[in-house]
């Protein structure tokens, strides 16, 4: 993978562990800092937050990384929880910002292991939990 050599803050990995093991968060929103040399934690979602609240917390016109824990009823009727890793890079923002997020995706992904599915979203309308759940239901 060609990367741009971005550093990732330790918060990201720590809070991800809290999300996954302690189940204390619903989502994490991760961004690149203003100096464009480090990936930092932007926002953390409460455990009872919904997907709509997550969508409100996301900026519409700026790229972000996000981790979200989906809960839904699976094919067998049992409740399932799956963690998705999202790269949100809207087509409307400038290529410089999109480029930074696309090249540093790999380093962020390594810090939020393990997760169930990686999703690349490029449009506000595609940020949709129904569509994400479809990846796990066949």
């Amino acid at each position: 993978m060609m990367t741009a050599g971005m550093r990732v803050s330790d918060d990201v990995a720590n809070e991800y562990t809290n999300l996954r093991m302690k189940r204390s968060h619903r989502y994490l929103i991760i961004r690149v800092n203003d100096d464009k040399d480090e990936v930092i934690l932007d926002q953390v979602g409460e455990r009872d937050a919904t997907f709509e609240q997550f969508k409100e917390a996301m900026p519409k016109d700026q790229p972000r990384f996000a981790v979200f824990e989906l809960e839904f009823t699976g094919n067998s009727g049992a409740n399932e929880a799956k963690i998705v890793f999202i790269l949100y890079a809207p087509d409307i923002c400038d290529s410089g910002a999109k480029f930074i997020y696309a090249t540093s995706k790999d380093v962020v992904r390594k810090k939020v292991q393990p997760f169930n599915k990686e999703i690349q979203v490029n449009d506000w309308a595609d940020l949709d939990d129904e569509a994400f759940i479809k990846y796990f239901k066949h």
Binding site: M1, M2, T3, A4, G5, M6, R7, D35, K36, D37, P63, L87, A89, P90, D91, C93, D94, S95, G96, A97, K98, F99, I100, Y101, A102, T103, K105, D106, Q120, N122
Partner: protein, 425 residues
């Protein structure tokens, strides 16, 4: 590791039609620093010295090198010289001619961008198909000949997909000579899935010229082949066109100059039909008049779409080619089953040949017809798609965190040129 603070690096994207080179400053990209360059042109010794005194002075050292003098650049190219021969930078097999590249780089870096290659790291783009020998040769050439401090080589489709904010996508790169379909996954161009056909803008231009000359019996006159004089006789304004003698011009230069006239006609008048065309739909197309530079008028109707249609239907000259939409679906079909859905949602256009009006709509309409039924197809294009690899390279080289990725001169001296394979996967 090359860690110069505040480096301004230069991005060079060599194409078969033009080479794009530019300096990256603190802002992300500066378009007016991009220099457009025609193919390298080779010039025979010039006998009529009068007009060329200045030129010889400016490039005096080139002349002493050999009896043939290389002239590079669109400004020089548009100036007619007798016996000037044009030679392409790439051979028919797509191999770079290193004799010419030196002159192109000299011209674009030293003369036009006014940088010193000894102080400036250079980022090159390369075509999707991995060619180990070519990149090793380029590395050696740059370090030995230009003594550059650092170099990086990156695949053009990877840069184009990153510039669109995607690390997984399929890039449809249609240039002047070739069309590639390259799936990119996590920043790697998937070598086994690349599909390439020799169809591109140059092919369309030469087809159009053949048609104009054979079917319409129109003689294409290059811009230097006539003189236009403005007349005002009793209030009636018109231009008087008189032909000039063009016998001394080398056939290859004449050929190129005629192609340029036809290319402008193509870019101005042609578009891609929304759906597959038949005889009946051709009649509904609006006819338009086009005036060639020498005043000849051509009426074009169905031809406005029938030439571009060649990119979407089987072609007897290219065995195996059944249309760009089939190329894309076939290339996705070769890739891993897990990423196919993502690839269908991220079809990215790149290259000057995709600038035809309606190109995107046509693909958006035809890919779903031949793709699996439950996938969503989305074709994306950016306004800068004519040189998106250059834009991507320019952003990449401007990132502060990228500066540790360059292959530096020290590394070259320690490990040799093979190191480029490890530094730039």
């Amino acid at each position: 590791m090359y860690c110069g603070d505040d480096v301004s690096s230069c991005v060079i994207d060599i194409g078969s039609y033009q080479t794009r080179a530019g300096i990256q400053m603190h802002v992300i990209y500066i378009f007016n620093r991009v220099f457009w360059r025609r193919l390298s042109s080779k010039c025979d010794p010039i006998t009529n010295g009068d007009q060329d005194v200045e030129m010889v002075d400016a490039e005096g050292e080139n002349k002493s090198r050999s009896s043939k003098r290389l002239v590079v650049g669109s400004a020089e190219l548009n100036y007619k010289r007798d016996n000037m021969e044009i030679q392409p930078l790439f051979s028919d097999q797509g191999i770079l001619n290193f004799d010419f590249i030196e002159d192109i780089l000299n011209k674009s870096l030293i003369d036009n961008l006014m940088i010193n290659p000894k102080e400036t790291p250079l980022l090159f783009t390369e075509q999707a198909l991995h060619n180990k020998e070519a990149r090793i040769k380029l590395t050696e050439f740059m370090f030995e000949k230009y003594q550059v401090p650092a170099i990086f080589i990156c695949k053009a489709p990877v840069l184009a997909s990153f510039a669109c904010g995607r690390s997984t996508a399929i890039i449809v790169d249609s240039g002047s000579k070739t069309t590639y379909a390259t799936p990119v996954h996590d920043g790697y161009a998937l070598q086994k899935c690349i599909i390439k056909y020799d169809i591109g803008g140059q092919q369309l231009t030469s087809d159009l010229r053949t048609w104009l000359e054979n079917d319409r019996k129109i003689e294409v006159i290059p811009r230097f082949g006539f003189k236009k004089k403005f007349q005002n006789i009793n209030g009636v304004e018109n231009f008087e066109v008189s032909r000039l003698d063009i016998d001394g011009v080398h056939p290859s230069y004449l050929n190129w100059a005629k192609d340029e006239v036809v290319r402008e006609l193509k870019e101005e008048m042609f578009y891609v039909s929304e759906d597959q065309i038949d005889d009946r739909s051709l009649e509904t197309i609006k006819g338009l008049n086009y005036e060639l530079p020498d005043g000849q008028s051509i009426n074009l109707q169905g031809e406005r779409v029938s030439f571009t249609e060649k990119m979407f239907v089987p072609n007897e000259k290219l065995p195996g080619f059944t249309g760009i939409q089939h190329m894309i679906v076939e290339s996705i079909g070769k890739s891993d089953i897990d990423i196919r859905r993502d690839l269908f949602q991220n079809v990215i256009l790149s290259g000057g040949n995709t600038l035809f009006k309606g190109f995107l709509e046509r693909l958006q309409r035809q890919i779903p017809e031949i793709s699996p039924q439950n996938v969503k197809v989305k074709v994306i294009s950016s306004n800068e798609r004519k040189f998106s690899p250059w834009v991507g390279g320019s952003i990449l080289s401007s990132l502060g965190s990228f500066q540790q990725m360059w292959m530096s001169r020290q590394e070259y001296e320690e490990h040799g040129s093979i190191m480029i394979e490890r530094k730039c996967p």
